[in-house]
């Protein structure tokens, strides 16, 4: 795995924190899906539903091509941003695989957006996802 940027390290750390120790795959899947929901909620008003779906699909594609062991998982979730489908695929995995998939997917999504609109704007738009306490709007209730 290539060296992670500071932001990616924070994403991984934040995911680990929300998953907690000794979590089962259901808990891991829920943490990943919930983060994605927050990202979607933050981006959709600005770049539109279609823009977010396109970024998600591109992220999945990049995950699979950079990490061949994820290709199988990728094949089973590559529908339009369907987080329920993602959740059901993730719970089939082992804890380690599910967490790894989540880390790679979230950091890839973030890095992809960074290449398009730059680090400062990406951080600005997604600030509420990882720093709810610093956000100017109350974080939305996204948990199922």
């Amino acid at each position: 795995m290539s060296t992670l940027s500071e932001e990616s390290r924070q994403i991984v750390a934040s995911l680990a924190q929300s998953v907690g120790p000794n979590a089962d795959t259901a808990r891991i899947a829920q943490a990943i899906v919930s983060t994605l929901q927050d990202m979607t909620a933050a981006l959709t008003p600005i770049i539109g539903q279609q823009g977010v779906v396109a970024l998600y699909r591109r992220s999945l594609h990049l995950c699979a091509s950079n990490h061949p062991r994820l290709a199988g998982t990728y094949d089973s979730v590559q529908t339009a941003l369907d987080l329920i489908a993602l959740n059901s695929v993730l719970v089939e995995q082992s804890e380690v695989d599910a967490l790894f998939f989540g880390e790679v997917l979230l950091t890839t999504f973030y890095e992809l957006l960074t290449t398009l609109i730059g680090p400062s704007l990406t951080a600005r738009l997604l600030r509420g996802v990882w720093e709810p306490s610093l956000s100017d709007t109350p974080s939305q209730e996204n948990s199922p």
């Binding site: 008003p45 600005i46 770049i47 823009g51 398009l116 730059g118 400062s120 704007l121 600005r124």
Partner: protein, 485 residues
């Protein structure tokens, strides 16, 4: 106390635009930014938005179909005015693509209204409004009524105390379009292409209640954003000539004598002569003499390689900052851009002497689209510069003609207050130079044709050639001796 409504005018933050708009942007106005693709509409909108939006006066930017917001954000952040930190705070982007795709204008209006009510913006942008219109037309939806939609939008935005901009691609201003009627302001952006040159122009076709500056105004887009070159304001009350006339020394004592004691202050002087006759040397001497008396100057050089043609005196003055150099090699200059460059340099240095070397180079530096109006342009430049109170020396390349006596190739001699003409003559198998003062407005001056030469110390004016006649024909003949008695 007046009980009439006061319309606040907002400073747009776009250099030159407030002047062109006639004093800024009227608050709560409903405006249209129109023009063909690539003319800078979205950039103009963003630059104004970033300048005007504050936490107390937030902005909403609706993106509709057209340029995907991701790309817009990607490219707009290349500009210096773009500040990521204010996004989602004083500036919010709202994507309406899905609502627009459905093609229902009522639904689009409902979304805009609900966002406006939720955020109470002071500034609203809709980019691109054209796509809203197109989407409504392609749908087989009898309920869509564009004039009504625009009417309602305009009314809603104004009552919500929002200054609104609709951004749209339009190619001809003759489009019968309900928006053009409803809008308070109509800003057209254009790209005028002639051969290999492209010039951006802006026109304020309409701005209710404002004395806008008519006509096309050139602008440039750089990393700092859009810069509009508004024409220099004309000073309506020109200071009357003071008597006795205050005069500037030219740096050549004999020439001062010929001018009747020097160049009257605030005059424009045309130095016309053939190539190599010493016009640039005279211009440099003029600036050096100013510097010797503690005055500062500005020189505008329009040469392909300005450093190569510069003489040592001038280079020294530029280096010490006594003379400011305006050396714009930007392609496709407009007269207003040059005047603005000159005026800003003049006010920076508090300059009193200005040199333009040469008019021929200046004409070449102008974009082809302005060359037809060269005389008008020149007249405006001279007026703007002398209006600023400076004395101007302009050089003009003059093809030597021995059959007629002309002073400039542009028929611009009447524009200047004073004229010095230089000529080559042939005497005894030598190429000699003569100089004469042709005109000094409201002042006595010499009528002598004087020989002069150029050496290491500059321009040295010599005697007349009383025993020769026909000097202006270039091939003088010796007068018959009986005439001299």
């Amino acid at each position: 106390m007046s009980t009439k409504v006061t319309i606040n005018r907002l400073a747009t933050g776009v250099p030159g635009l407030d002047e062109v708009l006639g004093g800024g942007l009227p608050e709560f106005s409903f405006n249209m930014i129109a023009g063909p693709p690539g003319c800078g509409k979205t950039t103009l909108a963003h630059q104004m938005m970033f300048a005007l939006a504050t936490p107390e006066r937030p902005a909403l930017f609706f993106t509709v179909l057209g340029e995907p917001p991701l790309k817009m954000l990607r490219y707009q952040q290349q500009f210096d005015f773009f500040d990521s930190e204010v996004i989602n705070q004083s500036i919010r982007y709202v994507n309406l693509a899905d609502d627009t795709l459905a093609g229902n204008l009522d639904e689009v209006l409902r979304r805009i209204v609900s966002e406006v009510e939720a955020h109470s913006p002071s500034l609203v942008f809709v980019d691109s409004f054209r796509s809203v219109v197109l989407a409504s037309q392609t749908q087989d939806n009898p309920n869509n009524n564009l004039p009504q939609f625009v009417q309602q939008l305009g009314m809603l935005m104004t009552t919500w105390q929002a200054t609104t901009f609709l951004i749209g691609e339009y190619f001809t201003e003759t489009d019968t379009n309900p928006i053009f009627t409803v809008a308070d302001g109509l800003i057209w952006l254009r790209q005028s292409v002639e051969r290999n040159s492209m010039v951006r122009k802006m026109e304020i076709m309409k701005m209710r209640g404002q004395p806008t500056l008519p006509g096309l105004h050139t602008f440039r887009i750089a990393t700092s954003g859009i810069k509009v070159f508004a024409p220099a304001p004309l000073n309506p009350i020109e200071a009357p000539l003071e008597f006795p006339i205050k005069r500037l020394k030219m740096g050549v004592p004999q020439l001062d004598e010929m001018l009747g004691g020097g160049l009257p202050r605030g005059y424009s002087l045309l130095v016309a002569g053939p190539s190599g006759s010493g016009k640039s040397i005279l211009a440099a001497t003029f600036l050096a003499e100013g510097a010797r008396n503690g005055e500062t100057g500005v020189i505008a050089v329009f040469e392909q390689r300005p450093n190569h043609s510069q003489n040592a005196t001038l280079a020294g003055l530029i280096q010490t900052g006594q003379v400011g150099l305006v050396d714009s090699r930007a392609p496709d200059l407009s007269i207003d851009e040059i005047v603005q460059l000159l005026l800003s340099e003049i006010s920076r240095l508090k300059a009193t002497r200005v040199v333009i070397d040469s008019l021929s180079g200046f004409e070449l530096a102008l974009a082809p689209t302005f060359r037809e109006d060269f005389r008008e342009s020149l007249s405006r430049m001279v007026t703007a510069l002398t209006g600023a109170g400076v004395s101007v020396l302009m050089t003009s390349e003059l093809e030597d003609r021995y059959t007629d006596l002309r002073f400039s190739p542009y028929g611009t001699a009447f524009l200047t207050d004073a004229i010095i003409v230089q000529r080559y003559i042939e005497v005894q198998s030598r190429l000699l130079r003569i100089m004469a003062v042709v005109k000094v407005r409201a002042s006595a001056h010499s009528d002598e044709l004087r020989l002069y030469r150029i050496d290491d110390n500059g321009l040295q004016i010599g005697e007349m050639l009383p025993d020769q006649e026909g000097l202006l024909g270039g091939r003088p003949t010796r007068r018959l001796s009986k005439d001299r008695v």
